[in-house]
Symmetry: C2
Subunit: 223 residues, 2 copies
């Protein structure tokens, strides 16, 4: 049972250090020093540095996905099995944005770790992300119920763009703040969520005819 103590100590120390400094800047020796355990303990309990990162990320991803699905179910239940498209998109992007944005000092080690995982795309994390497709399919299905007249291709693109805006906002929050001289307020998380949801929903509900306009031929004379 002493094993569990060591194991947990490593996980806690690793998450804190990765959140603060990033994956590439933290060595196994840093982690074992912070956790007050032996260097070989990491390899014994997790197998490798990559598997340690993977375990951390899997744990946090499961919690995030559970939160998303709870919000989605709540939205569909309150709509009698068919949720509003805004509520669906809000369930998709709300939890991750709430965890990763907001005033600096309020962000937990958990959220800061997830930001790192989003920014520094290391191999073990990429492998896990590729398995999230089943989870996303549940949202695609809910969107189909909300907008039965939309083609599935359009729905997939809308889902994709919603995630794009949410993740990019997390990844590049610093740049957006600088670019706008602080006028874009990234600490107002609910405002950010509303913007992402509104923008993604607009693309899904606006008249489709504009999509195939010949505008694509303008402004290009070379190549």
């Amino acid at each position: 049972m002493a094993s569990d103590q060591t194991r947990t100590a490593i996980l806690v120390a690793a998450e804190r250090l990765y959140a603060d400094r990033g994956f590439s800047e933290v060595t196994l020796r840093d982690i074992v020093a912070e956790a007050n355990v032996n260097l070989a303990a990491v390899n014994y309990h997790f197998g490798s540095k990559d598997e340690l990162i993977a375990e951390l990320f899997v744990t946090r991803s499961i919690a995030l996905n559970r939160e998303r699905l709870r919000d989605l179910r709540a939205a569909e239940d309150s709509g009698g099995g068919r949720a509003d498209i805004h509520a669906i998109l809000r369930a998709l992007v709300g939890p991750i944005l709430r965890g990763c944005l907001g005033p600096e000092n309020q962000r937990s080690a958990v959220a800061r770790f997830m930001i790192r995982a989003s920014i520094e795309s290391v191999p073990p994390i990429r492998r896990i992300k590729n398995k999230e497709i089943d989870h996303l399919r549940k949202f695609a299905a809910a969107m189909k119920r909300a907008l039965p007249d939309r083609s599935e291709v359009e729905l997939f693109w809308g889902l994709h763009f919603a995630l794009a805006m949410a993740h990019h906002t997390i990844r590049e929050s610093e740049r957006l703040t600088k670019l706008s001289d602080g006028r874009c307020d990234l600490d107002d998380v609910e405002d950010v969520i509303a913007r992402v949801v509104r923008s993604a929903a607009l693309g899904l509900t606006a008249s489709e005819t504009a999509a195939k306009s010949p505008a694509r031929l303008s402004a290009r004379e070379t190549r």
Copy 2:
């Protein structure tokens, strides 16, 4: 002058290997073997592994930014100093999407390198990206000329979301293909560009009143 040969050989080999395997999977020894030069030559010509990556990325970024600005100028010139918002957004996201999407076998080592740079966000590349703000300001200014009635905050968010959709599509193209069972065609680059431009422009031109709706209070009972 033999220096230039060695230098160039290192750059060519490094770009090819990084494009194929990713930054974390390629060692300096792999690069010097591919380039048929000595290990220390890398340090002599570039100082460190990070500076080699930085030089590669800077070169490619400059070329990309030049292409973007050329498209932007062309759009503004043909509109008498005020371009259509669609043309501006197209100049912003078109060049990078054309370089990084399209049929697998048509993607050059250059484009594949830029994809890697976009996916595996290593420290030297992050540092450079943070300096791109001046470049983006030129697009923000053009957007202000195109939509003088829009608040600057809205314009910055629109610019940000356009980049979000473009970059996320490059990063997660594989996942979108799998999620949609191949129904979202990422080889049709001009269609992807049209979708991104349309979606971003919609958010900027649609009636603003919806942005601050009370919908943000729905579907959340906990936390």
